[in-house]
Amino acid sequence: MIINRIKKLFYQRDILAEMVFKQFRASYSGAMLGVWWAIIIPCILAVCINIIFTTVFKINIENFTFFVLSGILPWLFFSAAVVEATNSFLTDAAMFRQKMLPLEFVPFKSVLSNFLSFLIGIGFLLPFFIISNIQIIKVLPALIFVFIFNLIFILGLSLIFAVINVYSRDIIHFLSVGLMVWFWITPVFYSLNMVPYPYRWISILNPMTYYVTSYRSILFYGKLPSLPVAVTGIVLALIFIIAGNLFLIKKEPSLLKQL
């Protein structure tokens, strides 16, 4: 059954691509700066955090701006994608009134269009990362794997959230606070080893820790992520995508009635 489903998705990948571009264009249409916002937002945030943490908290990390940027870019992608995808069944229900599409496409296109913004942001800032640490070039190919598994994880997670949200709108309210808490417990502007041990399990239980750490070790340190981190990231991604899909398949008939 799952194979059939994947086949169907694969045949209609063109349509998904079209939907992603449409969503991507729609999210920047009417804005004068357009796609530049994909770069501006992480930069502003990085600058703010940099100022606060170097001048107010006096954190002693070398090249702190790039340290924060390497974590905040993936985080921003994650949070924006999850929020948008969670709402997607409700906002884009109209899509199903014209032509029947696989249900997955709706949260997927939200995630993927954010992924595009993310890629643009990274792509623009990559030269600066390289300038700050020339070692990065050597490990750059590994970044692609990080992208893929991070993306798979987010797709799976957002599927679950999007389906739940159709039945109870609580999830979206929870997310407004939850994402903030999640942000603080994810090592974005601190590193994992700065967390004292009794509390470190919180970070270890947090799936995003593995992806952010992976991004950072490649983009900031110029090293491959450690094996445990990489393997955990891959396993988590597969668990979430399978869980998400099973959940959707189970809920599909009644979900359609709700739309």
Binding site: Q12, D14, I15, E18, M19, K22, R25, A26, S29, G30, A94, M95, F96, R97, Q98, K99, M100, L101, E252, P253, L256, K257
Partner: protein
């Protein structure tokens, strides 16, 4: 192959109910046990009331919902027209949205580029296509969504009530488009509330009710059954007896027999006028419920708070008789009647002796009046002459003896005939009786007629505003003026006294006979063995009353009076020169003392709108004026007749009714004549021509009544731009004999004299000959004869066609009645109901070529009533319009009154000229070219013709005078002179061996003039369904023909093409090409109007500059026939 297969589908919804005491969930089955399959290429309609699960069903087919139970199998790409434009993004432009949505639908980029132009063109957005759609109007938005959805090339199209796509024109186009998809073999599932659309498009219909399929089958079967059940359940009842099925549904009865509906959508319903809301109200507007106490009878009560009216219908159904009684209650009811809308397959009606065919449907929206018919026994019968249908004949009417039934044709889209039965009280009994065959119907009517006792008969005479109704049952003869009764009590009365006892017509036995122009009554008092024979007729302005009385056998008569009883509103009386006022009290039949008891006139009048009345005393009898007793409350104007042995002369009087309420006495004093005095009359049999020298009118009379109106009979002459109307000429009459006269009309200082000869024949005919004596060379540009008649005629026919007198459009109060072929030599007018108008045939010497006859109708003016006109003129070429001094015969015609001489004897020898090739025939006649392929006509309407527009008026070549210049096997030259424009054309037509027809048009202008348009046209058969303008576009013609030429939303295409093509399944393909040298022409494809019902292929030049006198060679066209190879 099955495109869609639904196998035992069940679908439920959980619905949340929020109430005060908490939230509860309930499961509702939206669909239950739905099974059906749709074959590929089939069009399936789903009809249901709201909430029956139609949309859920469509969503399941589209895959937007998954059924809770059952299996769905859909083969092919599905596109939906459900919530149009739902997938659009408002920030993107129309073009971007098309691309995005088409991509999402799965079209490749290449396909999208191909489709794009089509979508944009169909949506008709112009440059707006590149604007973000948030700036679009709702209509534009919907049009774009529609055209996109439809062009996605789906295999299966699901349509959910989407006809609200902007204005009527664009929704028509959408429907046409859907039709086109149907033709392309797409599978379509259509959900709509518009039954017309379902009926037209669907192959099969499913009736869904509460989630279940309750009926499926052909549209013809399902739709009527569905319509019967739509409505409030309390007001629905189905009656069935064998094959006869009647459904009462909230104030409407629908009838069907053996599954064939007899009634249309209208059904049978009551209609009345409500003066307060100033509009018509139908029984369908009321709220109905069954109030019968037991199950045996069905009594429905309908009420409406807003109308203050209540109705009770009691319905019963026997084997083949449906009976129902209706009671109206309430104040605001005027003109109540019952409308029976029945199917157009019924094409004959029969009433009393008359059996006639329905006129063809001529008008789209109007109710085409087919006349009011008196039914003396039982009603009007309908039957279908078609053998194929198993439609039973039926009779419809009220159960009472005398009634009026009006017939109508209505709407060509949904052709329905209507029989309207007028109620004269608030209570009536109706019935419809079915007969398996026409024969039985006629037999039944014959039987009914015999059953009717003469004493129970009801007779009616009518003329203008005057009406006499004699009822044998009530023993009254009443006079009505403008629908209001003038008389009181028994109306025209007779009374006599014997032994202190009064007897009247009430104690007599009555026998009434309705004659064509009079009512004959026989009154017999058996006790006295007294018999009177009355004859009552109407003439202009009054009533003639003759009675044959024999009192010889009665002994001891003390008093004997005859006269009329009038309403108490009559306050004043007059006898000769004496005027007076009726006493206030009702003096119990006490004579008022009169000075001149034997005065010639006895009259009365009233204030208000009652007419003045004068009775003439023809026998020096005694005038009696009196008040009745208190019970009767009326005034009596009577004559006291000699008591005994009254036989010599009989009794006869004229009761004159005055139009305007002049005081009757004044008229008596002035002795106002009824007819103009200065009238020279020529007469024979019933026909009279009155030459009125005062008014300068030639009036026509039939049986003493004038039938002409307004200008009556007259000639128009336009001599060298100087118009002569007979009323400005000097008139001189010479009466040769009683039946023959000569009228000479002349103009001072002008050497032209018109001479009219009238001759009345004993066979009720009138011969007219008009000669012209010309003293110097003149040019007669226009020469026409017109005859205006009172509006008493219902229909007309010529040798080739027939029609009615409903004018579509009036200009200056004149409305043209359109004729397809006006080049006829005789026309017959038929008076429908009225006995006062004889059928009239106007015929000309058939050898007289180029005479056209036009018909028109005039609205009533201040001084005249509405009228009907016949205009006839001779079309003459320029050459022939010059007259040298001498004597000429302008016209020789004959009118026949009453009896019709078969029109075929006036069939014109037509001077059709022909070119032929095997299989192909081309003939020209009166500016119209017709093409025949293997005996079948390809052209329609006007065929090949040209046209000019000058000051907003179109001048067709069919209204020009034509002459053949040259003719041989291959070539044909024709010259035509336009009657009302200084323009002539020469057409050179060549028929090539390869079946190409070359049509060259050369225009000559004789005087400088401006033309707004010059057109060269080809009207072809409506069997041509597809068109193409190679290199530009192609498509299908709409099937809608407008009622009038003013609005043309059905133009298929226009543009600078030089070849236009039409295709048909039945006829050979045809192309109409123009030579490239004739530049500046616009090619055009459109539907003509409903009258010509054809496709028009046209090349036109608009905004032509001022043309100087001279020759212009302005068009060369090629018509090519491409026979199908088979």
């Amino acid at each position: 192959m099955k495109a869609v297969n639904l196998d035992n589908i069940w679908e439920k919804y959980r619905i949340k109910f929020v109430k005060e005491n908490g939230v509860s969930w309930r499961e509702v089955w939206a669909l239950r046990e739905v099974n059906f399959a749709v074959e590929q290429g089939e069009v399936l309609g789903i009809i249901a009331q709201n909430g029956a699960g139609k949309t859920t069903l469509l969503k399941i087919i589209a895959g937007m919902l998954m059924p809770d139970r059952g299996k769905v199998n859909v083969r092919g790409k599905v596109s939906t027209l459900m919530e149009l434009g739902a997938g659009f993004n408002r920030e993107f432009t129309g073009r971007e949205n098309i691309i995005l949505n088409a991509r999402i639908y799965g079209l490749s980029k290449k396909d999208i580029n191909i489709k794009m132009q089509e979508v944009i063109e169909f949506a008709g957005l112009g440059e707006f296509i590149d604007a973000p759609i948030k700036y679009y109007s709702q209509g534009m938005y919907l049009r774009l969504a529609f055209s996109l959805a439809i062009s996605l090339d789906p295999d299966i199209l699901l349509i959910d009530d989407i006809i609200a796509v902007g204005d009527e024109a664009s929704s028509c186009r959408c429907i046409d488009k859907i039709r086109q998809l149907k033709k392309e073999g797409k599978t379509i599932i259509l959900v709509t509330h518009q039954m017309d659309m379902v009926a037209q498009m669907c192959d099969r219909v499913i009736h869904l009710n509460k989630g279940k399929i309750i009926d499926a089958g052909s549209p013809g079967k399902i739709i009527p059954a569905y319509l019967e059940t739509v409505g409030r359940k309390e007001g629905i009842k189905v009656f069935e007896k064998y094959d006869f099925r009647v459904v009462f549904n909230n104030g409407r009865l629908s009838l069907s027999y053996a599954g064939n509906p007899l009634t249309g959508k209208m059904g049978v319903s009551a209609v009345w006028f409500n003066p307060r809301i100033n509009g018509w109200v139908s029984s369908k507007d009321l709220n109905w419920q069954n109030i019968a106490k037991d199950n045996a009878s069905f009594i429905f009560e309908g009420s409406h708070q807003g109308f203050d009216s209540l109705q009770v219908w009691t319905i019963s159904l026997e084997k083949d008789i449906l009976e129902w009684t209706v009671k109206f209650e309430g104040k605001e009811i005027q003109n109540p009647h019952f409308d029976l809308g029945f199917r157009a397959l019924y094409d004959h009606w029969v009433v009393e002796k008359k059996e006639e065919e329905f006129l063809p449907f001529l008008s789209k929206l109007n109710w085409q009046d087919l006349g009011t018919h008196d039914c003396f026994f039982g009603g009007v019968g309908m039957f279908s002459s078609q053998k194929s249908g198993s439609l039973p004949a039926f009779i419809f009417g009220q159960k009472k003896q005398a009634q009026k039934i009006k017939l109508f044709n209505t709407g060509y889209h949904n052709e329905t005939r209507v029989a309207q039965s007028l109620l004269d009280s608030n209570c009536a009994e109706f019935y419809i009786r079915l007969f398996s065959q026409k024969r039985n119907l006629l037999k039944y009517m014959e039987k009914k007629k015999k059953e009717l006792p003469a004493s129970y008969r009801f007779c009616r005479l009518e003329y203008k505003h005057l009406r006499i109704e004699a009822s044998g049952r009530e023993k009254t003869i009443k006079i009505y003026y403008r629908g209001r009764e003038v008389t009181a009590g028994c109306g025209m009365s007779v009374s006599f006294q014997r032994k202190e006892e009064w007897y009247s017509a009430v104690s007599a036995r009555w026998k009434l006979v309705q004659k064509e122009d009079c009512i004959q009554g026989e009154l017999f008092w058996p006790d006295f063995r007294l018999r009177q024979v009355w004859e009552i007729s109407i003439k202009e302005g009054g009533v003639c009353w003759k009675a044959d009385i024999d009192t010889a056998k009665i002994n001891e008569i003390d008093d004997f009076k005859m006269g009329i009883l009038v309403r108490e509103e009559y306050k004043r009386y007059v006898s000769g020169h004496q005027e007076g006022v009726f006493p206030k009290d009702f003096t119990n039949w006490m004579d008022i003392d009169l000075e001149d008891k034997k005065a010639e006139h006895l009259g009365t009048n009233a204030s208000g709108d009652l007419p003045g009345i004068i009775l003439t005393n023809k026998g020096r009898w005694m005038n009696v004026v009196e008040n009745s007793d208190k019970k009767n409350r009326c005034r009596a104007l009577q004559f006291r007749l000699p008591f005994r042995n009254f036989k010599e002369k009989g009794f006869s009087t004229e009761i004159n009714i005055f139009k305007d309420n002049l005081f009757a006495g004044k008229c008596v004093e002035e002795k106002k004549p009824f007819w103009p005095s200065n009238l020279v009359s020529v007469s024979a049999a019933a026909v009279k021509v009155g030459i009125d020298l005062d008014a300068k009118k030639i009036r026509l009379f039939y049986q003493g009544r004038e039938i002409s109106e307004r200008a009556c009979l007259r000639n128009h002459l336009l001599i060298s731009e100087k118009g002569f109307e007979s009323r400005f000429m000097g008139w001189q009459v010479e009466q040769i004999s009683k039946d023959k006269a000569v009228l000479t009309m002349s103009i001072k200082n002008f050497p032209v004299v018109e001479r009219w000869e009238f001759f009345c024949g004993e066979d009720n005919s009138l011969k007219i000959r008009i000669d012209l004596e010309v003293g110097k060379k003149v040019r007669i540009i226009d020469n026409g004869l017109s005859l205006e008649l009172k509006d008493g005629y219902q229909s007309w026919f010529t040798a080739g066609e027939k029609g009615d007198f409903i004018a579509k459009k009036y200009e200056n109060d004149t409305g043209a009645i359109r004729m397809k072929d006006s080049n006829v030599s005789a026309i017959c007018l038929k008076s429908g109901e009225s006995k006062n108008f004889p059928d009239l045939t106007f015929a000309f010497n058939p050898s007289c070529q180029d005479r056209i006859i036009n018909l028109y109708k005039k609205r009533p003016g201040n001084d005249y009533g509405s009228s009907i006109g016949i205009y006839t003129a001779k079309l003459s070429t320029r050459k022939k319009s010059f007259f040298k001094p001498g004597s000429y015969n302008l016209l020789e015609g004959k009118m026949f009154f009453g009896k019709q001489p078969g029109l075929s004897s006036f069939q014109k020898k037509t001077n059709k000229v022909k070119l032929a090739r095997p299989g192909l025939e081309l003939n020209f006649y009166q500016g119209k070219g017709r093409l025949y392929w293997k005996g079948k006509e390809i052209t329609a309407g006007l065929g090949i013709y040209s046209c000019f527009c000058h000051f907003g008026i179109w001048h067709d070549s069919s209204l020009a005078a034509w002459e053949v210049i040259e003719q041989n096997r291959d070539n044909l030259s024709l010259a035509g002179d336009w009657a009302h424009l200084p323009v002539s054309q020469v057409w050179k037509i060549k028929l090539r061996e390869d079946k190409r027809i070359i049509w060259e048009v050369e225009t000559e202008v004789h005087q400088e003039l401006e033309l707004e348009a010059i057109q060269n046209n080809l009207m072809v058969s409506p069997l041509y369904k597809e068109w193409a303008a190679p290199g530009f576009s192609r498509g299908e013609f709409s099937e809608i023909f407008t009622g009038s030429y003013d609005i043309l939303p059905f133009r298929a295409w226009s543009g600078p093409a030089d070849k236009l093509l039409v295709k048909s399944r039945e006829l050979p393909d045809l192309s109409f090409r123009r030579d490239k040298t004739s530049g500046g022409l616009q090619g055009l494809l459109e539907n003509s109007d409903y009258f010509y019902r054809s496709r028009l292929i046209q090349y036109q030049q608009i905004g032509v500059e001022k043309l100087k006198p001279g020759k212009y060679s302005n068009f060369k066209g090629v018509v090519e026939i491409e026979p199908k190879e088979n």
